[in-house]
């Protein structure tokens, strides 16, 4: 962090011990053991082993980065070496005493994973050796030239990802290429070693050549005429849309379902992004509008005894959205005069009020209380009921595209600038003639509308809704995904949803540790990349860099 401070041996040892403690911690909470069942590379490497080595590798890399150039390798190795100490302590303790009495997850299985199945003594030696080696490798990696280092990192990352998701990949490959071909690549849910090597080398090579050629490539793009560039953008967009439309065919039922769930969150995220990201209003009760949208859809379309109109999905959809918008305005009018923390707390309360009301006996005759609303039909399209996730996908996609479109258009308009100005400095924005209440209400109402839309689709997708599906955690999830993706960034919302909603669905072992991972991820994000994975400002400024070439005038000389 502080470049002037000298990085000493002691710091390297500290880093190592921290890495070891992290690994011990994730071992003791049971994550390592859970993942030991998921093989990355057949008979060679499990996800658990990656988890054990991840913290030492990262912190050794960190040590190498911070220390002076001539002893970077030594620092890395030292960090790696000391990273094994806490783990060895854990192993020895576990073999000497019965730790399971208070640490339920410290099972013989875990110990055997940690010691590579070689018993405490030999295993510990192996652990030291491997950790030191990993630390050294991480340090070497850091010492390499950026042109080589980045491709290697890309290759490693992708190979790991492919390995982690090999089970799903196996299913997909089978669907397209048949069993015999698939078995060449993935057998019993794990990547074949040769394939892993090919992947690693291949992706590294591609990334390397892309890095080499990329510069000249983007130069060539910059040299293109405006029409050429526009044509290329159009071509890209068309290709992208075709890909989006063909997605269910590529993904199959299970993945389509996952994508739908991600899409529901993307839709909510896009709405909350307007409120939090654009206008800077911290809304912690965002789930309220989601619930309102869902309940309106449920009551209007349900074929059960709570249904009042049995209208079609397409009639109920706009009604849900309008109700959510109305609720947004209704809540917004009194509370938007508050600022910052106060607003957050009031909206938090509103979210809870809606959930408790949905759960209450008072409203039970209308919305079913804890029993919820059942028998909500799936949407139908010209007579075909959209039962399959692959069909529902298009409804979700439509909603997301609509929200995306509205968000981009608004953010590039006067209203977007008003929001931005308000986020930057409320007082000055008001002094610029901006009516704060109206501007905030618009953000709140539009955000609520998207959330309502999302809720309506959600209700119809699940066919039954219950109050407990609308708890505070959803508001927090949506807020977290915006933070992880990057405040105010539309692609960031998608990235955030994929990471926070998609990943846990795919790695079902995660489910137990979902909140744990959220916490860890948010802390790491705040420390390492507070602007999010796909920050908006930078992309935006990049776009502006091109505009600058149009009206360049010499700054008028001060006379």
């Amino acid at each position: 962090m502080n470049p002037e401070k000298k990085f000493t041996l002691r710091d390297a040892v500290n880093q190592g011990l921290i890495a070891g403690l992290i690994t011990s911690l994730i071992s003791m909470v049971g994550m390592v053991e859970l993942f030991s069942k998921r093989q990355l590379i057949a008979n060679l490497m499990t996800t658990a082993q990656v988890f054990i080595l991840l913290a030492p590798a990262l912190l050794s890399y960190q040590s190498a980065r911070k220390s002076a150039k001539n002893n970077a390798l030594a620092s890395g190795a030292v960090t790696g070496f000391f990273a094994s100490i806490p783990i060895i302590v854990l192993v020895l303790l576990a073999s000497a005493f019965d730790l399971r009495q208070f640490l339920v997850n410290v099972s013989p299985n875990l110990i055997s994973t940690l010691t590579f199945g070689q018993g405490p003594v030999v295993g510990s030696l192996i652990l030291v050796a491997i950790n030191t080696l990993i630390g050294l490798l991480a340090a070497i990696l850091h010492q390499l030239d950026e042109k080589i280092r980045n491709p290697i990192l890309t290759g490693l990352l992708w190979t790991l990802l492919v390995g982690m998701f090999s089970e799903i990949l196996q299913e997909r490959l089978r669907a397209f290429f048949g069993i015999s071909f698939t078995n060449l690549i993935i057998r019993s849910k794990a990547l074949q070693p040769t394939v892993a090597v090919i992947l690693l080398v291949g992706i590294t090579a591609i990334a390397y050549f892309w890095g080499q050629r990329g510069a000249s490539f983007s130069e060539r793009i910059a040299n293109q005429s405006a029409t050429q560039r526009r044509n290329m953008i159009i071509a890209q967009r068309v290709a992208f849309f075709v890909l989006l439309l063909a997605m269910p065919l590529l993904l199959g039922t299970y993945l389509s379902e996952v994508v739908n769930n991600v899409g529901i969150y993307v839709l909510m995220g896009l709405g909350l992004n307007i409120v939090v990201g654009f206008a800077g209003l911290l809304d912690l009760g965002y789930v309220a509008f989601f619930a309102i949208g869902a309940y309106v859809m449920a009551i209007l379309t349900s074929e059960g005894f709570l249904g009042v109109a049995q209208t079609s999905f397409w009639v109920a959809l706009p009604v849900s959205v309008i109700t959510a918008v109305a609720a947004g305005i209704f809540l917004g009018t009194p509370v938007l005069r508050m600022r910052g923390d106060y607003l957050a707390i009031v909206t938090l309360g509103f979210g809870e009020i809606i959930r408790i009301m949905a759960n209450s006996d008072l409203l039970k005759p209308f919305i079913g209380g804890a029993q919820g609303v059942l028998q909500i039909p799936k949407p139908s399209f010209f007579g075909t009921s959209l039962i399959q996730p692959g069909q529902l996908y298009y409804v979700v996609l439509g909603g997301v595209l609509l929200a995306w479109f509205v968000s981009t258009r608004l953010s590039n308009s006067r209203l977007g600038r008003q929001w931005m100005a308000m986020r930057e400095d409320e007082d000055v924005a008001e002094a610029m003639g901006i009516n704060l209440v109206n501007t905030k209400l618009l953000a709140f109402a539009i955000g609520a509308g998207f959330s309502g839309l999302s809720g309506a689709i959600y209700a119809s997708k699940l066919t039954s809704i219950f109050p407990h599906s609308f708890n505070l955690l959803i508001s927090i999830n949506v807020l977290s995904l915006i933070i992880v993706g990057g405040m105010g960034s539309l692609p960031g919302v998608v990235i955030g949803s994929l990471i926070l909603v998609g990943l846990p669905e795919l790695l079902r072992e995660f489910a137990e540790f979902r909140l744990w991972m959220y916490g860890a991820l948010l802390i790491v994000m705040m420390l390492a990349k507070p602007e999010g994975f796909w920050p908006s400002a930078i992309t935006k400024r990049e776009l502006h860099a091109h505009d600058e070439s149009i009206p360049i005038e010499e700054p008028a000389a001060a006379d």
Partner: protein, 267 residues
């Protein structure tokens, strides 16, 4: 004709009377300064005029309309615009975006038109951008439109803030220490710039300033505040000779002595 009239304006914060019974008249098209020691209530008066503070007593009349209970955004729309003592630009927005926000009161399209990109919306945006670039050029920042406000040098930020204030096409411009933190050359340039503003655009300018060279150089009329009360007003010449002013700035006793030595002219 007076564009702004403050009658007996009083603003209290708890027991502290920040502005007390202040009367100020601004003639249309004039350049007027308010001076006074720190804490004299100058900025508080600005905040009262722009509606950021509500006046406790008295009335402020602008262009024939009573401002007392109007909200800040409405007052801006009526034609008063200001800059701040400590620059308050929208730091993470570009220079052009800053000015575009300033133009807000004059943009008429409904927000939903932005979604459908109606011809009216597109034209308005294009005109607004052209106007913003024109203003940027006017304040001498041409070519810096796409840099973030926070990356601009200090002097440029001051100018940008003025450009943003001008974007709302004000009839009255309030400048809160426009030359604070500038060296003598920059101050002199700013002085010329402010004069041009009035001469080119016919805007009435009220400024708070500590740099006496600037105050004496451009003001047609000066009001001196001390402890929330007006202790003197008049032309620069009159103010320079006023013993109460010298007393407020340098303390009792200094007035007579210094004046006798002829130092007061450089206060």
């Amino acid at each position: 004709m007076n564009i702004l009239t403050a009658k007996n304006v009083t603003k209290r914060f708890g027991g502290l009377v920040a502005v007390s019974g202040l009367n100020i008249d601004l003639a249309q098209g004039s350049i007027v300064s308010i001076i006074g020691p720190n804490g004299a209530g100058k900025t508080t008066f600005f905040n009262c005029v722009t509606g950021f503070y509500k006046v406790d007593e008295g009335e402020i009349i602008f262009d024939g309309n009573l401002l007392n209970h109007k909200s800040t955004d409405l007052i801006t729309r009526m034609g008063i615009s200001r800059t701040y003592q400590n620059i308050r630009l929208f730091a993470n927005m570009t220079a052009i975006e800053n000015i575009l926000v300033g133009e807000h009161p004059h943009l008429k399209t409904f927000w939903a038109e932005a979604i459908f990109r109606t011809p009216r919306f597109l034209k308005e945006e294009k005109d607004a951008e052209a106007e913003a670039r024109r203003l940027l050029r006017y304040v001498g920042l041409a070519g810096l439109g796409d840099s973030l406000a926070r990356n601009l040098p200090y002097g440029a930020q001051r100018r940008l803030e003025i450009a943003r204030a001008l974007a709302s096409r004000p009839k009255l411009l309030l400048l809160d220490e426009p030359t604070a933190g500038m060296n003598p050359n920059e101050s002199a340039e700013m002085m010329r710039f402010i004069k041009n503003l009035r001469d080119d655009l016919g805007i009435t300018i009220l400024l708070i300033e500590h740099d006496m060279r600037v105050v004496m150089g451009i003001s047609e009329h000066i009001h001196v505040l001390d402890f929330g009360q007006k202790i003197a007003e008049g032309t620069p010449k009159e103010i320079q000779r006023n013993p109460r002013v010298i007393e407020a700035y340098l303390g009792r006793g200094a007035a007579s002595g210094l004046e006798a030595e002829g130092v007061s002219a450089t206060v």
